[in-house]
Symmetry: C2
Subunit: 199 residues, 2 copies
Amino acid sequence: MSAASGDSRLGAQFAFLNEADRLKSVLRATTLVDGSRPENSGEHSWHLALYALVLADQAGPGVDINRVIRMLLIHDLVEIDVGDVPIHSANGLAHGSVDTMAAEAKAADRIFGLLPPDLRDDLRALWEEFEAAQTPDAVFAKSLDRVQPVMANLMSGGGTWTTYKVTRDQLESRVGVKIARGAPALWEWVRARTAPFFG
Amino acid sequence: MSAASGDSRLGAQFAFLNEADRLKSVLRATTLVDGSRPENSGEHSWHLALYALVLADQAGPGVDINRVIRMLLIHDLVEIDVGDVPIHSANGLAHGSVDTMAAEAKAADRIFGLLPPDLRDDLRALWEEFEAAQTPDAVFAKSLDRVQPVMANLMSGGGTWTTYKVTRDQLESRVGVKIARGAPALWEWVRARTAPFFG
Ligand SMILES: [Ca+2]
């Protein structure tokens, strides 16, 4: 690689990393564990990668925890353009809607498109894999993405369950099923602790 | 593993993950790229892991980028007890002082000590490796930890260089040498762009 092309490659890598910084300003419906303020999607992504590192023994057969960590590091970048769509908002209908998915694909074009082509293609494919939730790595990553806000709600005294008046059945269908798919013991453990909030 | 011991293992894993959440409330001297507010150490850790993922081609021989990412995810956890010690504070003398290092070791005992013994020992060893800055993985991780605030300062119009009246020689000795040790092309690239701030 010539010095000049190396220079423009680094320029593209830093352009992406500087743009990614904006994820720290995207606020989620969930608060910090101490309830003091909303969590942002940058620190959420860090916390989830740490979940993967610490809960790797909960992953099913065929899961590559290093790929799960990489997936979780980039899984929310599209929110820089689209914002966080809370799982319980609009009676559970906004998250995963056709409109939301189209907007996220456009955001992925723009944001991953800042990278040099090889990295753009790799990270875009990793994000698509997460979204599709079919491979063992993506299924486990999705389970962690669902269990971390449950833990924040448990710790902070109800959190988004109170905000959105979530019922036990809604928690089971919107959240529990997806945690259990990739990490059944995690759902069993946290479900037992949600009982007092859905009495 | 019996159900009961599995249950207490998960309890320890979640106790650690809930304690780790507090890193989101530790503020650094550096701001976000847009200068809007101080960066916290949780989102900083995420951004650094993303740096490792995107700048992996800058790592020297023998670097395992997955270990670098793991290292960066946990490298600042001790700040939950000790706080961030800015590199340019107290005329560059507070960071890495004997007192700071002793306080960080005590914090590591407490925080990693929340984990089950196998994970405690693994992550504690990874943190010690980062701190010692001798292995190729740790040297590259340290380079990224130094270059990310330089980029934030460049983007936000001076940042901590202005706050702490940093000179060109101080930037070179406190920061540049350490970036160059693990990632020489990164230091060359950013140093060229710091010139207007040290005119
Ligand atoms: Ca750091």
